[in-house]
Structures are given as C-alpha cells and as structure tokens.
C-alpha cells in the first residue's frame, strides 16, 4: 500500500494548446479514498490515466509511495484499474479474467485459483466463475471488473466512472459496496466520477477539477460547508446552491427590494475589482419561509414543486422580474431552489416569501469568484 502524489503534473494533448491537466498538485494518503470529480472535459479522467501510465506526463512528476513512476510502464506500476465499460476480456471466463494479471506475473496456479475464489466470494461471483462475460448482467460484469482489481492486491486502485453504466438503483447499491470494500481492504483508491452525489457519499476526500485546474480538495463536509469558489459552490450539492450577484451598499447586499446584511470582515475583504458587487450563495435548505416585509426576505414565483417524500423543493424565479436573472441555481438557469416543508408545499404558480437563515450565506468575490471570509 502506498500514497499517491501528483507533483505539478501536466498533460497537453498533441495539437492542443491548453493543457488537459494543468500543473496538478495532489496528495492521496495511504489507504485513502479520493474522488476526482468535475464536469465532463475537466481533466479528471486524464489525471487518472496519467497515474495509470496510459497517458504521458508532459511535465511534472507522479509518485506512488516514494517511487517516481512518471516514466514507468503501466504494467510496472503495481496498480489495478476498473474501467467505465469494464474492459473484460470477452474470450476468457470470469475466473481467467480475474486471474490474468496473476498469470502474467507467474503466480503458481493453485495460488491464483485460491485468490480468485476468495475475491469471487467477497463479490458474490462464485457461481459465475466459469461463465464468459457475455453471459453476465451489467452488475455482474461490474463486479468482475472489481474482482480483477482486487485479486491483484495492488498498491493503488484506479476507478474510472465504474458505476456509470448501471441503472440508478444498482448504482446506489454498488456505491456503498465499493466504499465499504475499499475501507475493508484499506487500499489507496483514486476514483473518478462526474456525479457529485457519488463523490460526497464515497470519498474520504474530494478533489474538484475544472478545465484541467484543481479547484479545491477536502472532505465531503468541507466541500459542502466551505466551497472555495463559486464553481465548487455550484457543483457540489444536489439540488445545487443558489448563486446571486448583489450590489454592496450600506454594509448590505442589495438586489431589488432585498437587503441582506454582510459582516464587517466580508466588506473589508472586497476589492476595487469587485466594482461594488458581491456573489452570494445559499443552499436550498438554508432558506426559511418568511412573510412579506421581513428584513432580507424576497419573493419567489413557484414554477414547480418537486416532492421527494422526505423533502420538497420549490423551483422558482425571483418575483422581482427586473433582477430575476441575477440569481441562478448552480445549474445555470435563472432559477432559484428552496427546500420547504414537504407536508405543506406551496402550489405551482404561488408566490412565496423566503429569507436566508442567518450565517448560512456563502460570500464570494464577484471579480475572482473566490470565497470571502464571512
């Protein structure tokens, strides 16, 4: 087992100017489960493939443990990878698929058999060992791909969106299985996903990437409670955080008739580049239903109510039309999401008043997008 270190690792695809991964600095501790997450094209898969040795590193280094593996062949890195489409060998049985790496390594047959059977038991695959991949369901193939990685007993597991081909229910199930399996085996794991729910539920820590640049690394709680910039704020959390650009005056953030008080530290942290504006973020659950005229309250026209049983989410627009487009949910459109009491949801077309609970607003510089002290 070993730690993983990206040291200024950069990958530029031939014929492109902008790096796909730009000077990535990242440390994954021994036994840690790190999730790389970001929108498509953010460089998360490329980062993983650089670690696997399937992608060249143009500058910088990658270390596994204390060993510099930047120029080491994939086969000599002592890693195992689970691919998005599983990449099982179609002409080999499940047992041969799982034991292929050991066979190449020259492990004695009896030992291969033993380790394959052990992994099959963990993954509930024992009765399928003699089948070919084509005779398995999607979930079973996924487990075979996992088994192929486990059997190796590698230093690092690499997983590239291994759940994206499963249906929603199986995905949730497998998610917990993989997470608990990783904790049991204690193998350092780097896991790539575009699904922030997967990231939040599985990772010891999460690294968010965008356009090849690392945005923030932290525990799921840190990412959720203190996003380092507007992008992370909008990306982590489901439904997404509401983000609005407000004008700063009189120690308050103002938008139309809404005035939200700001702290002294926040005001002091503003610079000239911000041009008297500030970006405020508030999660759907940070909004309380209020009454007209309360300080800091604003009106929402309800477009849609999403009831999930335990929660209800109101999707709407600021009632003040001229400023409505200043508030967006993290998803981008000019809409606002609020969590309301599921037993007394408003109706579509209603107008409700909400206000941000004190201390639960996130403040960001409108010029740099970086988090400001509250």
């Amino acid at each position: 087992m070993a730690s993983v270190t990206y040291d200024q690792a950069t990958r530029v695809y031939p014929g492109q100017e902008r790096p796909a991964v730009d000077a990535l600095n990242l440390e994954v501790a021994d036994g840690e489960f790190l999730v790389l997450v970001g929108p498509s094209g953010c460089g998360k898969s490329t980062s993983l493939r650089m670690l696997a040795g399937l992608e060249d590193v143009n500058s910088g280094r990658i270390l596994i443990g204390d060993r510099d593996v930047t120029d080491v062949q994939p086969k000599d890195r002592d890693i195992a990878m689970v691919f998005q489409n599983y990449a099982l060998y179609p002409h080999m049985s499940v047992a041969d698929n799982m034991g292929f790496a050991l066979k190449i390594a020259g492990t004695p047959k009896a030992q291969i058999r033993e380790r394959v059977e052990e992994a099959a038991k963990i993954l509930d695959l024992t009765e399928y060992l003699d089948r070919k991949p084509k005779a398995l369901s999607g979930g079973q193939r996924q487990r075979v791909a996992m088994g192929r990685a486990i059997v190796r007993q590698p230093q690092v597991f690499l997983m590239d969106e291994p759940l994206s081909n499963l249906d929603a229910k199986l995905r949730v199930q497998t998610r917990t299985q993989i997470a608990s399996l990783q904790r049991r085996l204690g193998v350092t794991t780097v896991y790539v996903t575009h699904d922030q729910t997967e990231a939040l539920t599985m990772g010891d820590r999460i690294a968010v990437l965008k356009d090849g640049l690392l945005q923030q690394v932290g525990t799921p709680r840190e990412m959720y409670d203190t996003p380092a910039n507007v992008f992370v704020a909008g990306f982590i959390g489901s439904p997404a955080m509401n983000l609005g650009s407000f004008a700063v005056a009189d120690g308050k953030a103002n938008l139309g008739d809404t005035h939200i008080p700001l702290t002294r530290t926040t005001i002091d942290a503003l610079t000239e580049e911000d041009k008297g504006e500030i970006t405020l973020g508030f999660r759907p659950e940070s909004l309380d239903v209020a009454t007209e005229g309360e300080e800091g309250a604003f009106a929402i026209n309800v477009n849609l109510v999403e009831e999930l049983g335990s929660d209800a989410f109101v999707y709407g627009q600021l009632a003040a039309r001229e400023v409505a487009e200043h508030v967006t949910s993290g998803a981008g459109e000019a809409q606002l999401i609020a969590r309301v009491d599921p037993r007394r949801p408003p109706m579509k077309g209603d107008k409700i008043w909400v206000k941000v609970r004190a201390g639960e607003a996130h403040v960001f510089s409108s010029a740099t997008g970086l988090r400001l002290p509250a």
């Binding site: 040795g53 399937l54 994939p74 890693i79 691919f83 060998y89 179609p90 070919k132």
Partner: protein, 299 residues
C-alpha cells in the same frame, strides 16, 4: 413526484389489428419471394456440383451415353487413376504445402501488420498503409515478369518456397486492409486493461487482441484460402517444374490434354478432389464467423 399528480387510468394498449395484419402479410410476401429466389439460386449453384460428383463415378463412355443418369456402378476407379496415374496426388500434396504455409504466414504477418498500423501512432504509418492499399490495386499480371526475374535471381524459381513467398506477398495487402479496419474497431479499453494487468505488447497481441479478432481472422483466412487454392496465374508463370505442379495446373493439364484422349471420368474425379477441401474449410471456418466481436465490453 410533483404536485401535479396523474390520477387518470393507464392508457389502453395501442391496438391496431388491421395494421398488424398488413405488416404480417407484407412480411410473408417478402419471405416467399426471397425464399423462391434463394432456392433457385441454390439449385443453380448445387446442380453442376452434383452433376460433377455423379459423373466422377462414371466411365467416360457412360458420361456421354447417359449424362444425367445415376452411375451404373459406384466405382472409385476414376479417383484411383486421377490420384496416382494423372499425378493429382502429388499435386494435391504440393498445393496443401504451398497454401498451408502461405496461409499461416500471411495471417500471422498480416495480423501483426494490421494491428500495428491500426493501433500505434508512429511516423510513416499512413505511408505504409497506403503502400499496402497500392499493392491491392496493382494488377498481378503486371508483376509477373518482374516476379519471374526476382525469383530467378534469388534462386527460388520453380521451387515451392518461392511460390509460398509469392503467395504471401500476393495475399498480404488484402489481409492487412481487411484486418486493419477490424483492429480499429476493437475497444481501446481492453488493450489498456491488458497493459495495466501487466501484459507486454506481444502478450497483449497474442492473448488478448488476436482472440478478439477471431471472426475477422476467420473471414480473411477463408478468402485467402479460396484465392490461393484456386490461384492459377502465379504457379503457371513461376512454377513450371512438373514435379512441383499445384492442383490448378494439373486441372488445366487435364482439360487441355489432346482432344479425344481426355479421360472425363478422371477429370471429374480430379475436380471433386480439388473442390472438397475448399468446402470442408468453409464449413469449419464458417462456424467461427458467427462469434461476435466485443461481447462483455458493451454496456
């Protein structure tokens, strides 16, 4: 779940019996026509083969007296005389040696060449590929004379190894062309999985990619086998030693041997001897063709 809940009953199943009936009728018409055409085609193909087979058991006079009757006596005399007296046996052996070696070589070299061209980026890759394509378009007639001199200069004219080498060169472009697209189509992820599993390039090729390319290899092998087994021009020009004759040359000798002396019974026996291996090979490989390429890799 939204506040706007649907309280209506489930939509009734779409029932359109008239349309279904029409479609079924249309299907039947298409099936009837296509089956009729296929049956006619099969008859056209099979009858001459059958007639040849029957005639190979008759004597020459019987063939002329009652060309469509069953043989009076099922005798293998024609086969015996064709095999030993006409020398078909030796030619058969020559053909098996030449085609066998050439086929193994061309599949091995062609597979490796196509794999490298399809999956590795290196300078000159396109140039090599287009050279291969050029070989495909180059008429073999134009190459006969140069080939003759090349083989003579390296001392391989009128030898079986010389013919094998020529066959390999002759069949390589098509093999590479066909397998190139096949290897391109195989999922990249699997070779990457093999690389991570610790397989080197050779092992990845022979133990992972080649087995996956089996359907493609099988089809090319059949094409090549047919083409080389029936190859006539190259041996006529480059293999003039009677001892090294291949079957196609023997056949031609049979048919062109002076007028009345043609032993038609033996000729037909020789034809059957020539055709049967082709049929056998086709039946064997045809099963391989049915395998699908990337099972287990799909979503």
């Amino acid at each position: 779940m939204t506040t706007v809940t649907s309280t209506g009953t489930p939509a009734p199943p779409v029932a359109a019996p008239g349309r279904n009936g029409e479609t079924a009728g249309g299907d039947r018409a298409v099936a009837t026509v296509s089956h009729t055409v296929l049956i006619l085609w099969s008859i056209i193909v099979i009858l001459p083969l059958l007639w040849t087979l029957l005639s190979s058991f008759k004597t020459s006079s019987e063939i002329f007296a009652s060309p469509f009757a069953l043989p009076a006596e099922w005798s293998f005399d024609n086969y015996v005389s064709a095999w030993s007296e006409a020398g078909i046996g030796g030619m058969f052996l020559n053909t098996v040696i030449v085609v066998g070696f050439a086929l193994v070589l061309v599949m091995l070299l062609g597979g490796m060449c196509a794999y490298v061209l399809a999956r590795f980026a290196f300078p000159g890759r396109r140039a090599i590929y287009y050279l291969m394509l050029a070989g495909l378009t180059f008429p073999v007639f134009l190459a006969i004379v140069p080939l003759f001199f090349v083989l003579r200069n390296i001392g391989m004219l009128n030898t079986l190894p010389g013919l094998i080498l020529t066959y390999v060169a002759f069949a390589l472009p098509f093999t590479v062309f066909f397998l190139y697209s096949f290897f391109r189509g195989l999922p990249e992820e699997i070779s990457e999985a093999a690389a991570v599993d610790g397989a080197g390039e050779w092992r990845t090729f022979f133990q992972v990619m080649l087995p996956m390319a089996r359907p493609g290899m099988a089809s090319v092998a059949i094409f090549n086998f047919l083409g080389l087994w029936n190859q006539f021009l190259l041996p006529v020009a480059l293999n003039t030693d009677q001892d090294n004759y291949v079957l196609s040359q023997g056949m031609a000798g049979f048919a062109s041997s002076a007028g009345y002396a043609v032993d038609f019974g033996s000729l037909f026996a020789a034809v059957v001897i020539t055709v049967v291996p082709v049929l056998i090979v086709y039946v064997i490989f045809q099963r391989q063709l049915q395998g699908s390429v990337s099972q287990g890799t799909m979503k």
